[in-house]
Symmetry: D3
Subunit: 324 residues, 6 copies
């Protein structure tokens, strides 16, 4: 892992007992971050060559969601490429030919490449895949699954010899249901051995649907997965975050699942915006110095990039202590 | 009625012609009022031993709504018990075994006890009942009705020799319809003689559904009922308050029903929060000094406790003058 | 119980292994059974003075469902009164002021009267009640519950000193959900001590909703309840019958519940008609001679009265043997 | 055209590349602009006798939308008549007998009268029409169309000898679809020769429905139409503005249609209010001095009047440059 | 009116008290009446040169509904043209360019031409119009209305100097609502002076939606209109027929409206077919001999042409006697 | 291919011009074909050892669909095993642990085994796979895809070195949408290279959804695929059959697609039953004698097995001649 020296970690505010706390620089971006773009928000950030690089969801002024490249010296101040990522495959079935959103980026352990997954428009939403070695050139691979699917998230290393992915099968629109599944692949082209991981519910905040969030974090006790959960209210939905601990070798086995939401929309930039009451996590950074500090990038109100801090150990402990 | 001496009444702001005006201390609570709770908002407050006590809806961080006890020296600054109210009956059919929300509290005239009604999860929402004499020990009674019902509100005294309750029959979820009905009981166990009181509509602000609010206030002209009404818009719902005057002896007979909403979401803490555009009244205090001053506790945006002031006489007059 | 000598029992057809078999005289009625009526179908039949009398659902040519009186020498050939049953109470809240459908009739053990329950239109569907001693004069009682409810069915005797009723709480329209609940009353006016009996599912044929059918039959092993269950298909619903055994003293406790449907639409007069694929049981006759023979009256396709035969012992055995 | 000397034009803010920019005085109105009215927002403003007059949508405290007259010395500070516009025809089929909303006003070229169109409640929403010569007396005409229709917008002159109107056929409620059509009339009573103009889509921001906005502006290259477009998100809708250029003689022929939204909810008074995330344009003023400056009146969050500035030439150029 | 000598009138069956009775030759057509066509059913029949001619809805094997010409010596045995009616206008906005269904034909009194109305696909359903003088050549006129509309039915003569049409405004799909409106036109091109005639309800059989049926029949007491009404059941819809009497000079005024359905699906060919439980009237013949005998052509189950007989006087009397 | 000598081919009836004609022995099965089963209908039949064997969908009396083995000397008279197929894998993620329906069977060319695909209940519907060599022992493989998917159909040989499957991604219930996709696998465990084949529409009979039917038939001109298409009507759905010709080497490329339905519900056993108006093809037999005769097994009304005959050459010709 590269040195993350400049990352501006923030401590938990005095008096707070929250598991995740907001960065004081939030929101990192606002409406119209670059010309021709309504907002850049759902973020896949990784450390890169002593600084930070990321792939981001941005909605163009015609409303179409697509992917933008961004770079930052410190993880807070971002410069975005003016043009969307070009990810055209030789065949209309791969790469970005229609819409693209909600990316995740993962450096593959032991391989000199980064994988990007995103929700890819191919006769409905499915999981697009691409690889890069330099964040300049991106090579699209085959879509992982048949439609309809969202929130594909690769594990950062092979598990039992195969690439592994979490995802949320869904339908053609803004699906009012959703469980998390696990799939594996020998070659990133063919996928199978699909396993159900966990369902929406059982607690209220995640009673409508759930989906995987950032790349899972390996810990001695299992993969710590931050995921999003959605509930219905008497006037709209609320998108919050939760945590679960998955078995290291058989990640479809849930070791512990925290009962409560660990984070949700409360700040003004989270409860208002293009889509109110959404906090949607897509990336997490771990402190390279070996502490258990983490930083979670999340989209706020489908408008802003925002950042929250926490301790990985506390999330593991919370999942175990409150497991449902 | 106990002395309410410390209650911080506020006069109508200069230049205002509103029937209800916001307390300048609003919102009384915010996100995360106590550890493990997302928000405490819908409120059932009564004067108690020279101060104030209440039963409140609070949503735990797992999203589950349940009831919390709170106390306050002045009705504005509240301290909440860290643990939800324990209301377990000997039988799973009574007390709180699942969710609980939107409580009302009423001191029963001529009886040395207080009754609590709430929306109780028993194979769907129905009306839970419990009694207390000291706000320390609460004894659950039988649920009043078959599911599906919300917003049970007891009258503060027997009417024609029987306990009397308003409620809103509904269905399993966030019901898009709702009328107010009246029921009575000889013993708080068996309920019958159900009468329809009034329907959603006829004016637009209450065109989707209505339900009873705080305990009705007895006046020489009838029971003054503050209720909530909901309308649909081109992007979500709006929950506002209205007033109606019910016959003293036959409360299912509507003497007058104000045409307009007397209060609705306008303040920032009402139009944003966990559920935008909700002002939901659950309790009212009357000035013990004999004036017609009232104070209405309402949940704001399913996030905050808020307070508004008014004059009972004006509400009665408004209901009569604009009756539809 | 009165002598049922003329009743034309039929044996199980050779080669059949069905629990219920169709009467060869089916359908007993057809379209336009009497002037001004589209069909008479859901039936509440009891033996009466050596013959049979019943209260029936009939849909007038204006589509309104209401109740008709019928009489028959043998239970097969029915003569209907040309006018609907008059059940007007002094108050619009009781008796039939709007629509009325799906009646059940029960002779109250030890009382010289018959009770009629039906789905009564009072600001939505609820359970109407009336009594008669001669099937000439009917006296309406208070509606048992708040709306919205359908399929109220009284037990034939008091249980632990109180009248007892099964019902299916529902909503304003053709509810796509429904469980069976139990309620009791000291006086047939006030109802309480509501208990959940059983839910839709768990087997597919009853996966959408369920509701009580005829008056439960007392057996040494418990109350044998025939109920209706509904499933969704890829093109419409199917209404079938099932059986469950309820505890004699605490009938909300399910002793056994048969896994499969015991009867469903297969005959031409069941799979076509005003409402295709409906077999809806409302009444059952037991052989007065002491055998376990029973005859089930059911509405077929919301158009016809039809009859099926079976053995009570076999239903009890089936419920126990396949209990889910 | 009358002198518009006092109009407070504002230049594009430094650094902005937006096609429309907000007036620094926004919002021009707020909650409760006059007694008995929740908000006045969707606006039809015209220059009049050296100042400005307008017809506005205002929602009464009973929630009913109706029309109010307003006048202003400068287009920013508005005084509203306390009473709704009286537009009662001799026949219940014309004029305002129920609700009325979303007005547009157009001075008819070469005729000494102004026409008002609005969404008129006559057994469902349709397009009401009235004329005035002095903004004191308004004479209702026949409704233009059968229900269900919204957003009728007259062209400012006859086209090929006939009056011409754009509208959006819809249904009884908050229609989730909508295209723009063109109709013409020899006499403002009978309408025909209906032509489809353009459909919802093809870009995402207008993927749910579209409808005409202010009176189209004549330019040498065609009619410049500002319209509203709506998209669905994972938690509610967003109402934005777009531009299209229509053929001068055959306005149902679309010469160009801008790909992106030119304006949308971003300011606090646009993303919160009675209906969040709505910017709804109803009127436009052109600089009488002959420049291409325009000012767009729009309703913000169904609560406020707001104003944005732009240049007509730029809108034309944008429509052509990005045409889809 | 032409001689109808060969028409095979049938008397009311002995013992029947029905207002309309089925032709014993029913169904007149079945599945696959001509090659490439699934069924021909909704029928617009007129006497013509001593025999009968008609325009019919036929669904092609690709499912597309369109119009076919048919001729018959006696009104029972029909020969259909193998090709759909060609009704292409110079402009895509008129004539049949997409789908076409549910035609009506009316000889215009005092004009040597027949008018055809049908539901025409032009960016949604609207009312197409065409004229013919010889049933060989058909000239399309402008569509009468903006979408979305179905069931346009012309009156057989001008009323107060203008052409007059009934229709049912609807929406883009299988609309679950629908009222009948009246419109008039000086020239069959421009339409206006729209008036509401009657709403769905108030009786159950017509509780979901209603629409006009055959061309209204002039009688001394008013226009006798046969219309269709639809109700929802617990498993699908039922399409039946009703009658209303409209004012001769102001046909939007309802003089009387029969409470009940006068006809509905009961025969096997009505309760099963491509669309079960539909009887849909589109045409009526009056006895040229001056009796009040009528024959109603109706589509049965969207599969068959069927015919029923009745007496006009009885329908008038029924509407008056049972008026709601 | 095995000798099919006993198969009772039937010629096209005189006068018929249909592409498929019904077997005169239809329906081959009825209600309650074996004890404990409501109906056996959707059929996967293959020739086997001089006779016929098949895997069938049967709905148990508890409503659960599952798979039954059947055998027949002639393809018309079937004997079913009394017990459902046991297909339990070592892991709950494979084999039949919940419901199973709509099987297809294919002998793999050049491999001594048969593959069975079906809709498998694993946290939603997905495509189950199993193999057999003797139709006695069945070995479950991994499910092919993530949920939600229905109608998996394997090609009868590898294509370009990989197994190939058609399927219809869907959602959790009775999906109102559906397109056909193509996927491939090197090993029947991992699947990828997903390609869209064709969408619902463009003709009306297939306007709601489509899905693959029997195993595609190889012809010199391409794979002839019989598929099902569904349309919505004003009262329910209709399931019909269509044909398309797919490229031999790249089967996701559609060479031709017939415009019309080639078969649909018309016979009484197709338009009534447990699910009216369904004809659902699952298997096809080709004449082993080398003629182009084919026999299509289809489920009728989700109740019966039925059979239709045709000529493969004619289907190919029809697809090409009417291609849309």
């Amino acid at each position: 892992m590269l040195p993350l020296s400049p990352f501006p970690w923030q401590e938990r505010p005095a008096g707070s007992s929250e598991l995740l706390w907001r960065c004081t620089a939030n929101p990192l971006t606002g409406h119209r971050p670059i010309p021709g773009v309504l907002g850049i928000y759902n973020s896949a950030v990784v450390p890169w060559q002593g600084a930070y690089v990321g792939v981001f969801r941005g909605d163009r002024t015609d409303g179409m969601p697509t992917l933008f490249r961004g770079e930052s010296p410190d993880g807070l101040r971002w410069t975005f490429s003016p043009e969307p990522l070009a990810l055209a495959g030789a065949d209309a079935a791969i790469g970005i030919h229609e819409y693209a959103y909600d990316p995740r980026v993962v450096p593959l352990e032991g391989e000199n490449r980064y994988l990007i997954c995103w929700c890819n428009g191919y006769h409905g939403p499915t999981i697009g895949l691409a690889e890069t070695r330099d964040f300049r050139t991106f090579t699209p691979l085959e879509n992982a699954f048949l439609p309809y699917n969202r929130n594909g998230v690769l594990f950062p290393r092979k598990i039992r010899g195969r690439y592994a992915m979490l995802s949320r099968p869904s339908d053609t629109g803004h699906t009012p249901f959703g469980d998390i599944f696990y799939s594996e692949s020998p070659d990133l082209t063919y996928w199978g051995r699909h396993r159900h991981v966990m369902s929406k519910g059982p607690t209220w905040w995640q009673g409508l649907k759930i989906g995987p969030g950032p790349v899972p974090m390996e810990t001695p006790e299992g993969w710590l997965m931050i995921y999003h959960g959605v509930c219905n209210t008497c006037n709209g939905f609320v998108y919050r975050m939760g945590v679960a601990l998955l078995d290291l070798d058989e990640p479809w086995k849930v070791i512990a699942r925290g009962a409560g939401a660990i984070f949700g929309p409360e700040a003004p930039y989270e409860i208002t915006g293009m889509v109110p009451n959404v906090t949607f996590p897509c990336a997490v950074l771990r402190d390279p110095a070996g502490s258990d500090r983490i930083a979670v990038y999340y989209g706020a109100a489908d408008t802003h990039i925002a950042l929250a801090f926490g301790h990985l150990d506390e999330l593991v402990a919370y999942a175990k202590a409150t497991s449902v």
